[in-house]
Amino acid sequence: MHLASYLGLLRDSEASLAKGFQLVGAHHGDEPDVERLCEVLGDQAAAHVRALDPVVQRYGEHEDSEPARLQAAEFSGTREGGVGLLRDLQDLYSLASFVDITWTVVNQAAQALRDRELLEVISSCQQETGRQLSWLQTRIKQAAPQALIAAD
């Protein structure tokens, strides 16, 4: 059964996302809404990691035979200026999208396993991931025209 590997992947991806939110928030302090919400949403992602811990333990820390191919992406570092902010938010969007579809994958397995405890974790966490994506998309849509057309 490969669920354990996927749970590990999910947890690592949430940890990457949490780190990414923290880095972007801290770096773009001149955008107070970005700073504040990245802090809040980073805390959410970190809480997802903690929520997954007992599940990962239950299914066993599983060393996958294909570790390289099931590794979580990492946030690649922050950038400067209006376009830099846009790209940073876009990177977070990619990470959060990966997290989201991974929750979906795990959710399918949890249903097949009739694992009520895991299903409850998924339900609350994936909903928050959806909110993260929605905020990122809203902020990206707002920032894009000015960054791409009007800024130097």
Binding site: P32, D33, L37, W135, I149
Partner: protein, 776 residues
Amino acid sequence: MHDATGRIGDIWGPRTPHGRDTIWPVRVDQELADGVSEDEVERWVQSACVLCSNGCACDIAVKDGRMVGVRGRAVDRINHGRLGPKGLYGSWQWSGKDRLTTPLIREDGQLVETDWDTAMSRIVTESKRRQPLAHGFYTSGQLFLEEYYTLAVIGKAGLGTPHMDGNTRLCTATAAAALKETFGSDGQPGSYNDIEACDAIFLFGHNMAATQTVLWSRVLDRIEGADPPVVVAVDPRSTPVAETAERTGGVHLEPLPGTNQALMNGLLHELIEHGWVDREYVDAHTLGYDELAATVAAYGPERVAEICGLPAADIRRTAEIFGTSGRVLSTVLQGFYQSHQATAASCQVNNLHLLRGLIGKPGCGILQMNGQPTAENTRECGADGDLPGFRNWANPAHIDELARLWNVDSLVIPHWAPPTHAMQLWRYVEQGSIDFLWISATNPAVSLPELSRIRDLLSRDELFLVVQDGFLTETAQYADVVLPAAMWGEKQGTFTNASRTVHLSDQAVEPPGEARSDLDIFLDYARRMDFRDRDGRPLIGWSTPEEAFEAWKECSRGRPCDYSGLSYERLRGGSGIPWPCTEKAPEGVDRLYSDSEFPTDPEQCEDYGHDLLTGGSTSPDKYKASSPGGRAFLKAAEYSEPGEWISADYPLLGTSGRSPYHFHTRTKTGRSRRLNEAAPEVWVEVAEADAARLGVADGDLVRVESARGAVKGKARIGSGREGVVFVPFHYGYWDRAGQAPDGQPTAANEFTLTEWDPVSKQPLFKVSAVRVSKEE
């Protein structure tokens, strides 16, 4: 006729008590200039007061071509003849003083007098050099409807820039946001007549006694009469409202600044726990009950008491009053709007009413209040980060309606994202991507948060700054071009108060010197820019206020804010009329939602809503899938901790607010001798326990300092809760140092922070970590 002399000492005037469900008696207040008797007045010209959001109808006395007095209009539904201290002593008294009478232009670093053609040519040259997204417009809550609508058409269909907002972002944005989230569209549900009919009044972060003095006298007249209502005050300060709450057997709750959402969840928790919920109403007319109930389940009184620093018994008692009173009226203002989780907490007020089905019936109003006299029109007309007629930027059909109305390509109208909110607009100025900024009738150099930053932005060499005002304000002193504007009584137009009531304000006198109305200035810019529609005709086809009003009527037709049944003629002579006013409802509508049919239909609504925690937009598909079908949304949110909080270095919470004697940055009220003498200088309210610890006595000069800046003022002891410091925000520098503090900082916004609510984008003026020290 009541002699108004002495309204400085007695802010609310003599009582005219009356019982529940009886009409508020008339009391006509009048004030004439020294030496002018009533029989010397040549004309009385109809208007309404523009010194708070109440919109008291009045007549302006004219003699020898000058404004010499003011009298409340007895026939009007808003004030029944009354005027407050600002209306009586500050409505016209500024008119002869320090006015801008010619345009000014910057040459060799100095502002020098020039003529209109030179000033406007310079503006148009700079404008034509730039692309639409380099333009920003920052307007007001002080202009007339006709001016906002004209400005909105210029910005949205002429230039095509999304960067237009008003200082209404600082005062009323959360009212609009909370109404949109819950009911699908902006639009004040309640009526001031609900004061006459209610059994309990809840004031959430609303020091009505200072901010709308005439409205408060309306409440006091109920309290002194038969069957008085119980009053509940939510305010960390001890105000006259709070004292009244205690006197009427109600509750004064003093939550720690920034914890409103926890308190509101606690009240909702109690309503559900005790079954004070009209399930039949909730099932028929709302969506989201289960999620709301699940969210507030964790907010029992003990936990809330700990978060908010309140006795749990007071929370229980407050919920009981709300849950068991027959008719409840709620009002909400800056204590919620300018605080942490502003939109979320304001939505919970709507939720309280929806859970009990207390809406659209006499005495069961929600009044999400405004701060400024014409803020409502900024919202309606789309001069503030909304689209005209409460249209939905994310609904292509609404954009097409505007494109047809204006006869322009719908692609010209920026609608790829919500119009840019003020705080983001200023950020673009800071980054330089907006380098053409036109400010009308507002004074951001005193009113925006974190003033040292704002002064830096206004000083940027690259920025071309136009300021249009009646006075050389702090902000105007930074301008490249200053345009002298006609003010109240010197021009014609309409405006709408916080309870949707539209008033006509006729021109009483000529403007001073070469000053022009804001409408004429905007029209001149449009002509010179040669904005045209799709058929090559001038984009803006009107040239008088009344023609602009007629154009606006067409824009509003069929929308929630329908003005189509109104006209200047109908607004003359009698009372103001509340919209929607149509052929079917020619006298307007007193309170909205009497049928509990809410404008949430996807084709009707102004907004698809947001996540209250993040401000993330709900997608159109997701919204449509919720099938609201005229039901209201019970939006829920967890309490989250404020971003800024006390620390060892800054152990107190600083908040700001109003004096009853001043409006905004005192450009008018500071030029009234009586108002100025009543509140001549800034003060700092320190709680008794904090003062004792700091060794501060009443009258000592103290310094209030945050990580961003400091204010100095004399201490007043004892009127706030421990740990909270209050500073009035009126005191800038125009009458002292000029445009900046020069060693004597008095503007509260020296210490406030650049942070805003994720949904309404209203700045957080009420939660700044500060320290207080005695000045030697």
